[in-house]
Amino acid sequence: MSEHPDLLTLDAFSEGEMTPEELRRTEAHLAVCPTCRRHVLHLREPADWFRRAPYEMARVGLVNQIVEAVSEQRLASRRARRLGRAASAAALSGAALLAVSWSELGAAVTAAGVPVDANTWNVTVARLLEVPVDTATGVLNGTLAWQAGLAESAGAGLVLGMVLLTAAAFVGLTRLLQAGASRGVSA
């Protein structure tokens, strides 16, 4: 009789996980070895026990619950896509407004005869609001700091909102400047 295969080999035989050559050798041994045949029977038992072990069945409503969750996810992703498209469109519009109003503002400042130096904006705002330059500088610096703080702590949506607000503010400012320039010219 050939040497007994080890238990891992017999287990691989019982599981059908052998190469053809291993299978041929092991079958040849088992044909003449009742001890190893008994081992193989023992090795097969736990698999059978495991299959027979009772287990928890899924709750009846689980399928519907998952289908609903998937539907919600589908709707949420659609909403997110729509929101993304809207945000992109708004950002583009904001950028366009900003560009237009920036150029309009420059033209208005030139027309108003405001000297262009480091304090141009502060002086211009002070004139328009009829307040001291220091006050206008404080207001502008505070507003910029507030915007920067929000942009750091808030998400893209808020930043986008700030862009739009800024664009609108520029447009309004431009109109005021244009009105001021007209008054200056007529005066």
Binding site: L7, L8, A58, L62
Partner: protein, 195 residues
Amino acid sequence: VRPSDEDLVARHLRGDPEAFAELVARYTSRLFHLIYRFTGDRALAEDFTQESFLRAYASLPRSQFERPFRPWLFQIGVNLCRDWARRRAHQPLLFTDMQDETEGNVSLIESLPGDEPSPMDQVETREMAEALRHAVGTLPPEDRLMLALRYDEEMSYAEIGQWFRLAPATVGTHIFRAKQRLRVSLSRFRGGGEG
């Protein structure tokens, strides 16, 4: 005619909302069962089952989908289980290569009984379910998962090895050890009558 998984995936990717629902209906029970085998916790198994489908749903449009759906879905579930186990244990675990470890488990490997009766031979039919439930429940989670993949899902050593990046022979050693532990656990439940 029952559509194949691949047909359903293709229909889903073309925008058919019913197709994915059919995949959910087809695999919820099996996936829940597999995850429950590992976690032993019904609520957690439900959560992981749902999360597996949600992740699959989110990933499908981005996937170059050439793999069969079921193993892919189940692997998502198994990965959730492994992440959960890792968080619980605060250390890497599960299914490391056993080549060296095997050397230290010779006693377990050699623990096969000779002519003693099987543990189940001495269990009354009415007690059998409880004995098996308890014996399986006391196995380490990774053993239960290996056995579930092998005997519930009927995966080959090579298929299981692909999931866990193990050689098929190493998977065989894991499963062998898990079965031996099941035998020991069952014997202990019966009062150690076997050995």
